[in-house]
Amino acid sequence: MDHRDQSGTSMARRGPAAWLRLMFGVLVCALVFAACGGDDSDSTGGGGEEEAASQNGEITSDQVIFADYGGTTRTARTQAFLAPFSQETDVRAVSADADPAKFQLFVENERADWDLIDLDSWDVVRFRDQGALEELPADVTRADLVPEEFQAVASGGYNASVGMGFSSDEDAAPQTWADFFDTEKFPGKRALPNFAYFQAEAALLADGVACEDLYPMDFDRAFAKLDEIRDDVLFYDSFGQGVQYLAQGSVSQVLIPHGRIAVLKDQGLPMEFNWNDAFFQWTAAAVPKFAPHSDAAFALVDFMSQPEQQAQFARLTKYGPMNSAALDLLDDATKEQLPNAHLDTACEVDNEGLAKDYDAYSKRFTEWLAKD
């Protein structure tokens, strides 16, 4: 059985409502249309690929569709990128729910529903290697903090560190992943995502593996370590739910991207983020092959890579800019909250290594979840 796991785990996960839409929408559409031959080819209108990028700075499409995982990054993306882009270019920029299952079908059907998708760095590797991503034209601004080998397909994103959020009401502050797994010394429940997202890596670091030796992962060792805390774990399906568990005192520690903690801490909630060995990753606004409005998509990636826009997104979310020029536009207090300022203590994700492991990882993780 071929487990082509495409679990999208970008900065904000879809909530249950989106799951329902997905159930009904995709199931009915995919099956009925598959049965009917699915021959109602692209009716969304606008410029086709052949028109795209042919003329300099001229956008013929009237809209551009950005797929993401909802939540706080969508709100900030609209504020920092989509709304000002629409104002400047007269192209309507709309958000859609990213759904990796659908993304897979785009390549199969040679037809895409979105023009851009918010991809995690290891997903950039995976989808690039599958040939599912469009190369960015030369005139699109490149974000200089994106590693060179990915700059052909990735720009306009942000970076994030995934680590330990904890309640500052407790007496002692956890320092390491070993503390996360030590429920004797640090009592209380733990919250973990219900999709594969650095749980195994955290377990390996807690078990004494060094950050640079993580991949390929020793799954038996990782899941044996996770077994130790399994009875003390609450699983969440969106980052919003994860911080909610922490805010309501249901758990004392949560594995989560730092931005979710930083924003709530700014609002006065008693929570902290531990930067030690937090997993540093980045994302990209990637253009899928067969995107119906790719000319507008390229223009939007270019816009999203500009220092002022990158800085604005960082102010709103505390996720870091990928264009280093944006850092000069931020005040020191904000910069201190960004992963860019904590790289010295971070565990930088080996994206190629994680991309190779990902299918097996996700399969093992879902098996571990379901086992009673």
Binding site: S7, M23, V28, L31, A35, A101, Q248
Partner: protein, 294 residues
């Protein structure tokens, strides 16, 4: 009544005869449900089967039944469904009887309480249970204030927490059909029973319950069916570790992106439901108004 209906019915040979305009119209009317049936039932089933066979092979059902996760989820789902249906049958029948026998004001209140469950969104009601059950949530705090517990009951993301939530959600589906049957109950029958010397218990057992039997069976099968395929409540209350068939299929589909396996599991669930129903149908008729099996 039945006799009159027979006399009023048009002679058989007139219906559907060629040249009869009503025959054409009836045919057109039939086309809509027929087309809907083909579009929404037959075609998706064909596509589903094609997907399952092409990706999992012709023996997909055997593979699915040999999958430990599926068998676990199946066992959990069947246990849940049977117990929830039984609980709904007991509570729901009592509730329906209370609706017709209680004093007017109380009966109206009970009816409004029942219907409010329909008016409030399923998601909202289920989230209510989540807030109640989560560690350090409303239930834990309440019991701690009363001095009954120390820590937490740890109910969220367990199977046992699904029972009250599912009974809460499914109870109206049981009560309403039984309530309708209670309204059709002939008061003369009750009076006849009493005048012949039956105590209230005997009237309930020998007059009321036999009269309600078809409605109770139909409502039970409806609730059982809904419980088998229940999605939202198991997802939010049971979480990813307590998978039911519906949440497992969703996981295969939207997280594992294994369409073939999701299709195979869906078809196996359908087959299991058909088998259960054909067995049940041997003993009792599941269509209201028809008494007895074959």
């Amino acid at each position: 009544m039945v006799g009159e209906g027979l006399i009023d019915a048009p002679p058989r040979e007139l219906r559907g005869a060629a040249g009869d305009p009503t025959g054409i119209r009836a045919g057109l009317l039939l086309a809509i449900p027929l087309a809907a049936g083909i579009l929404f039932l037959v075609l998706p089933l064909v596509a589903l089967t094609a997907r399952a066979v092409s990706e999992e092979g012709a023996g997909f059902a055997v593979d699915v039944l040999g999958n430990d996760t599926f068998v676990d989820a199946l066992r959990r789902t069947l246990t849940l469904s049977v117990i929830v249906t039984a609980a709904c049958a007991v509570v729901g029948t009592a509730y329906a009887l209370a609706l017709v026998t209680a004093p007017r004001l109380l009966a109206q209140t009970l009816l409004v309480v029942l219907l409010s469950a329909f008016w409030i969104s399923l998601l909202v009601r289920t989230f209510g249970w989540v807030l109640l059950f989560q560690p350090n949530g409303a239930l834990d705090q309440g019991l701690r204030d009363l001095g009954l517990i120390d820590g937490s009951l740890d109910l969220l993301q367990t199977t046992k927490a699904m029972y009250p939530a599912m009974i809460h959600v499914l109870l109206p589906f049981f009560v309403l059909p039984v309530y309708a049957a209670c309204l059709r109950l002939d008061p003369d029958l009750l009076r006849a029973g009493q005048s012949l010397g039956a105590r209230p218990g005997a009237v309930l057992r020998h007059v009321v319950l036999p009269h309600l039997r078809p409605a109770i069976l139909a409502a039970s099968s409806l609730v059982f069916m809904l419980a088998l395929a229940f999605y939202v409540t198991p997802l939010l209350i049971g979480g990813p570790t307590q998978l039911t068939i519906a949440t497992l299929i969703d996981r295969e589909f939207s997280q594992q992106f294994d369409l073939g396996s999701a299709a195979a599991m869906g078809l196996v669930l359908l087959l299991i439901v058909l088998v259960i129903y054909s067995i049940v149908d041997r003993f009792v008729s599941l269509i209201p108004g028809q008494e007895g099996g074959r």
